[in-house]
């Protein structure tokens, strides 16, 4: 955000309002309980958890992108490295806000340390993301100090990379370890989460940088343009991989007649679709991919922004749909008191949790852009 712009206070005001609204929701949730969500004992994980998954994975994607210059020495990307680390931190903080409001009792969280259960994917997920947050913060601190290449700084980069590879696999295995839910069970969710992390992280990276450069109105240097081309290329290939993966998943799910999958399929198009293709796949994967492969369009800033924005919305939608479809039917005796199919639309409080998570991330972005010199590069 251009600091001198008269819109800046308006922007801060809007974020402030969003955060106030979010804090109101948080207060109500803490005092009244989670019945304020449109969740229940069948569909127990809803929008706040979806937002958490989405933001955490996006943060992971940003961390992986940042590893290119910071771990793998792709010097060309160094001009965006510090910002990527910062974005990864703030996005993850947003994710933590979302899950913090999703958990029934965050005051018991210290038992994660006091009484760890090492066989729990949730524990590992929490542990790795906590480590990731600390390591990223440390790394950012080193970068901010201009320390790009010390052993410590490089070590931190390596650790954050490893954590960023493992973290989405852990999120995936939270689902992948549920024998009771065949549609999730197995390693597919882990691989899917890793791919989705790269995709949404790259999309955010691209969108954010294009937005910043547009807001700042500064002339985009050729160096930067070249960086955007590279990111766009990564983006395009990731899109293609995710699309292929998604199509394979759809084909397999369509081919099987295992009842769980039949049920899943029946409800897997919460947002509509054409044939077996879901709306979010069409709008969130296929359309952006088309935009990104057509010569003449793919290089335009607007089309890149549109494509990345579509992907950012689409990936959230895809996470939500997988989350909801797998929980939409009651298990065992819960079918006695609940309908065959739980329909879901987020309550006001769930929207506010999402708003708060995103507003916190946006506030941090804004502050970072203003005070933390995110454009810094190593002094060679």
């Amino acid at each position: 955000m251009k600091q001198s712009s008269s819109l800046y206070p308006v922007w801060l005001g809007l974020i402030g309002l969003a955060i106030l609204a979010g804090l109101f929701a948080a207060f109500r949730i803490f005092t009244q309980g989670h019945y304020l969500f449109n969740a229940n004992d069948v569909l127990m994980w809803s929008l706040p958890l979806g937002v958490y998954i989405y933001l955490a994975l996006t943060s992971t994607g940003l961390t992986l992108l940042a590893s290119l210059p910071l771990v793998f020495g792709v010097k060309k990307l160094e001009p965006i490295a510090k910002r990527l680390v910062f974005l990864a931190i703030t996005t993850l903080v947003g994710g933590f806000v979302a899950i913090g409001l999703e958990l029934g009792n965050i005051f018991h969280m210290f038992y994660i340390l006091l009484s760890p259960n090492l066989s729990s994917p949730i524990w590992w997920m929490g542990f790795i993301y906590s480590v990731e947050l600390v390591v990223l913060a440390a790394k950012f601190w080193r970068l901010h100090r201009g320390d790009w290449h010390s052993l410590l700084s490089r070590m931190l980069g390596h650790i954050s990379f490893v954590a960023a590879i493992v973290a989405p696999l852990m999120i995936g295995s939270v689902f992948g370890l549920t024998e009771s839910r065949v549609t999730y069970f197995g390693p597919v969710m882990s691989i899917y989460c890793l791919l989705m992390a790269i995709l949404s992280g790259t999309a955010l990276c691209l969108f954010y940088h294009l937005l910043i450069s547009r807001i700042n109105g500064s002339h985009v240097t050729e160096d930067h343009e070249s960086i955007f081309d590279d990111i766009s290329q990564i983006f395009t290939y990731t899109l293609a991989v995710v699309l292929i993966f998604t199509l394979v998943k759809i084909v397999i799910e369509s081919a099987t007649v295992v009842p769980d999958f039949l049920n899943y399929r029946q409800y897997a198009q919460a947002f509509g679709g054409i044939g077996r293709l879901n709306t979010e796949v069409i709008l969130g994967l296929i359309l952006p991919l088309i935009l990104m492969v057509i010569p003449g369009i793919r290089t335009g800033i607007s089309s890149r922004m549109v494509a990345s924005a579509l992907v950012l919305a689409g990936t959230l939608a895809m996470h939500m749909e997988i989350l909801l479809a797998g929980q939409s039917r009651p298990i065992g005796p819960k079918a006695e008191q609940y309908p065959d199919y739980i329909s879901y639309f987020p309550s006001m409080y769930e929207w506010l949790v999402m708003l708060l998570a995103i507003a916190v991330a946006l506030l941090l972005y804004t502050m970072g852009e203003r005070y933390l010199d995110l454009k810094a590069t190593p002094e060679h």
């Binding site: 989670h34 004992d41 029934g104 018991h108 259960n117 549920t178 005796p333």
Partner: protein, 241 residues
């Protein structure tokens, strides 16, 4: 150390639900939460129709997915095989509930027993408010509060944590049968130590071919079902073309 298990004789079961209702008062369970529940099915088309009923409760699995997945060990196994929950350690992530193949875990979405927190009178001066009644009766949150539940677990679990059947561990500790077993008018629930070959459960499991729910998942559930809800006689037949 005993390994507790339950045999449910479906032929004896009459589907009356005494187990489930009596569980409510024994464990101060709020409305909408079913530690003891059932799976019913109406099969066939008129006039060849039957209704079937399978009582359900926590299976107290040996390989309990809820225990494996709990990040803080709030859900844990006791030496006697009971799958136990400690609400003090529960962060309310609901992963156990998500993970349970048997749909027996519930989350406290709100402060429990909202009915009993009302402060309105139906007939002015002539009836109690729910809060007054509980106070006057000497209960706690609910007028029929069972303080003996506190022996091993929060008497009423607070909002934000999960809860489920504990095999009435507080009763077992005192040498009493689980409440659902005591309350079953049909003696359809047989409780005991499966590690003792002379226990009634061991004898029954040696006599019948039991089945368990979703055995193929490898959870090793310890609720065993024997015989059929409807063991109807029928005229021998070879059918026809």
């Amino acid at each position: 150390m005993p390994r507790y298990a339950m045999v449910i004789d479906l032929q004896s079961c009459v589907g009356c639900g005494s187990c489930s209702i009596s569980c409510r008062s024994e464990n101060n369970v709020p409305d909408g939460i079913y530690w003891s529940n059932k799976i019913t099915e109406t099969s066939g088309t008129f006039p060849n129709v039957r209704y079937h009923y399978i009582p359900t409760l926590c299976n107290h699995c040996d390989n309990a997915p809820c225990v494996r997945g709990c990040p803080t060990g709030a859900m844990h196994k006791l030496d006697n095989g009971i799958t136990m929950h400690d609400p003090k350690k529960c962060i309310g992530c609901k992963y156990c509930e998500f993970n349970c193949p048997y749909g027996v875990i519930y989350f406290n979405w709100r402060k429990p027993h909202p009915f009993w927190q009302q402060k309105t009178q139906l007939l002015q001066g002539g009836t109690f408010t729910p809060v007054e009644l509980t106070e006057k009766a000497g209960g706690k949150t609910i007028p029929y509060y069972n303080p003996e539940r506190e022996d091993t677990l929060a008497g009423i679990r607070p909002k934000g944590v999960v809860e489920k059947c504990t095999f009435c561990d507080h009763r077992i500790n005192k040498g009493l049968l689980p409440r659902c077993v005591e309350a079953c008018p049909a003696d359809a629930r047989i409780f005991g130590d499966i590690s003792d070959p002379d226990s009634e459960v061991s004898k029954l499991l040696g006599k019948f071919r039991p089945f368990r729910l979703r055995e193929q998942l490898g959870t090793d559930p310890h609720i065993f079902y024997i015989r059929d809800f409807n063991p109807a006689h029928y005229q021998p037949t070879k059918g026809g073309v």
